[in-house]
């Protein structure tokens, strides 16, 4: 994708965007549409960031395609184009299977209300109040309570209900019961309301269509370009050093890791000491492991659901979900309907993981641990797809080290930073004039929808800056 290396670029740009995740892509597209000259730099060969895919033999594996909220349809229509928006379709089968309950849902509000009342026996009033309360939650209310307190208030002692409401969100963005209730409420209202959606055609087609749109908008895209430094003069951003070359720009938008942007890309003396300290304390979210399972060409699997939240743990536990001894897995099942002309099945198993559990191992131990994870995953999948071992022709594991390699995120973080990152991101342009950040900071601005929308929000801030600095 794109042109590799820094060939045929301008001497100077209005904006350079570092990183081609969904936030960087959307921000670049909006800025170019408004007539700014934009250079988008990506260190990898492919666009998308964690909205990634890769090919092996005759398989195409999607890293994060299942699924996102319906709002993505509107966001793509407004900030990309109608063709992209029209390909967004609902998933129908979302299953939960754990020692506390087994159920199937289409992830709509109606379905959750029915399940909570009929299956879990929660009084109707409590369910209605919970939905109303989360819907009304406002980011600016300054509510400091935690998600645990929120659940305790509406569903006291009902850990099975907590699990139903929390486990998918923990998978989706790494948040915990001790994160702010407000960020949970907003994500819950977005997600567990009108269903879960996916992109018909796969991540590869989405990225191809986005690249075409970017080129139409006039963005210069260059891949295999690693930004080493953001340069400053007289207290404001003047350019970037990338692949050993200096490129001048009036503003930089970073879609890289927030800590890396502030602590590594800027010279130490360029960052006010208090801001540096605040950024050093910023916590990154956990990482992930994935197992990619390719089904042989002539094999089929029956419909077992699109998304299976499975766990063998007795109760919901964020720590157990991160444990290297995996008990909780999400199986994303990709049927031929996602890429009709391709006609292959694939299953991707995802679990949350800690970087430190996988780093510092000997090569031999690392290989052995990966193999153990792959085999253990197949053992669990056997319950849902009997005879799975005979049906597959590709098996591959990604660990937190893999995520780090492709995204260059500190700790291989697969969900950006904790919520305090939003404040740092918001204040960045005040502290470092000309530098903006778009990327997952806390769970509101994360996931496909949050990332794309944050790109738009930041594009507005960049435009204001460019206009005002024109005098």
């Amino acid at each position: 994708m794109g042109i590799r290396g820094l060939k045929n670029i301008r001497d100077e740009y209005d904006v350079i965007v570092i990183g081609a995740g969904l936030g960087g892509l959307t921000c670049a597209n909006m800025l170019a549409r408004r007539g700014n000259t934009v250079l988008l730099l990506e260190h990898h060969t492919l666009l998308g960031g964690l909205a990634a895919y890769f090919r092996r033999k005759k398989h195409i594996f999607d890293v994060a395609l299942h699924g996102f909220p319906v709002g993505m349809k509107k966001t793509c229509r407004k900030y990309w184009n109608r063709d992209i928006s029209d390909r967004i379709v609902p998933l129908t089968g979302i299953r939960f299977d754990n020692p506390q309950f087994q159920l199937e849902t289409d992830y709509t509000k109606e379905s959750f209300i029915k399940i909570l009342i009929e299956k879990f026996g929660v009084p109707q009033e409590a369910v209605a109040e919970f939905f109303e309360h989360t819907r009304r939650m406002n980011f600016y209310d300054g509510d400091n309570s935690t998600t645990r307190e929120l659940f305790q208030k509406f569903f006291p002692g009902r850990e099975d209900v907590w699990r139903l409401l929390m486990e998918p969100i923990t998978y989706a963005n790494g948040s915990t019961l001790d994160d702010p209730a407000i960020s949970y409420g907003i994500v819950f209202s977005n997600f567990m309301d009108k269903g879960v959606y996916t992109f018909r055609g796969g991540t590869d087609l989405l990225m191809k269509m986005m690249e075409e749109e970017l080129l139409k908008s006039g963005v210069d895209i260059r891949t295999k370009v690693l930004v080493e430094k953001i340069t400053m003069e007289n207290g404001r951003v003047t350019g970037v050093m990338a692949n050993g070359e200096h490129i001048r720009t009036r503003a930089v938008v970073s879609n890289a890791n927030l800590k890396r942007t502030v602590l590594e890309m800027l010279d130490e003396e360029a960052v006010p000491a208090d801001f540096r300290k605040q950024t050093e304390k910023l916590r990154v979210n956990n990482s992930s492991c994935q197992v990619y399972i390719g089904i042989s060409e002539n094999e089929k699997i029956d419909f077992i659901g699109d998304l299976l939240f499975t766990s063998t743990a007795e109760k919901f536990s964020e720590n157990l979900m991160l444990d290297k001894n995996v008990t909780s897995r999400t199986f994303s099942v990709y049927y031929p309907s996602i890429r009709p002309e391709h006609n292959r099945y694939a299953i991707v198993s995802s679990s949350n993981a800690r970087y430190e559990d996988w780093s510092g191992l000997t090569e031999q131990q690392y290989r052995a641990d990966k193999e153990h994870l792959a085999e253990d995953t197949l053992d669990h999948l056997e319950k849902y797809v009997p005879g799975i071992r005979k049906k597959i022709d590709h098996l591959e594991v990604a660990t937190p080290l893999t995520f780090k390699y492709y995204t260059r995120h500190i700790g291989g973080a697969s969900f950006g930073t904790k919520f305090e990152g939003l404040e740092i991101s918001n204040r960045l342009p005040e502290r470092i004039p000309g530098l903006f950040f778009t990327g997952s900071v806390g769970i509101i601005m994360s996931g496909w929808l949050g990332a794309a929308n944050y790109g738009v929000i930041v594009s507005n801030n960049v435009e204001r800056f460019l206009k005002n600095s024109n005098g």
């Binding site: 408004r34 509107k74 966001t75 407004k78 738009v456 929000i457 435009e463 204001r464 206009k467 005002n468």
Partner: protein
């Protein structure tokens, strides 16, 4: 520019952002969000359109002033001079 001209400028922008909404029966005094389906990104779109079309800068602190059609018109009135 008169208030009614300004009101039609604002409704034109809203129409471009929410093409499926019926704006003919909007009560100018009532909050927009209580009457039509506008989310926070739609509000941002209104702000961005005001800048692109009329070169008006609305800082984030002023967003609450775009609550209803009438308050939006009052807010924009002094800022539209010379446009």
């Amino acid at each position: 520019m008169s208030k009614s001209q300004l009101r039609s400028i604002v409704t034109d922008i809203i129409k471009s952002i929410a093409p499926d909404e019926d704006l003919s029966s909007l009560d100018p005094e009532k909050p927009l969000r209580a009457q039509i389906d506008l989310d926070s990104m739609d509000f941002l779109d209104i702000v961005m359109e005001l800048r692109v079309r009329y070169n008006i800068d609305v800082p984030e602190a002023d967003y609450p002033q775009l609550n209803s059609l009438a308050s939006t018109v009052n807010y924009l009135m002094p800022r539209m001079q010379g446009v």
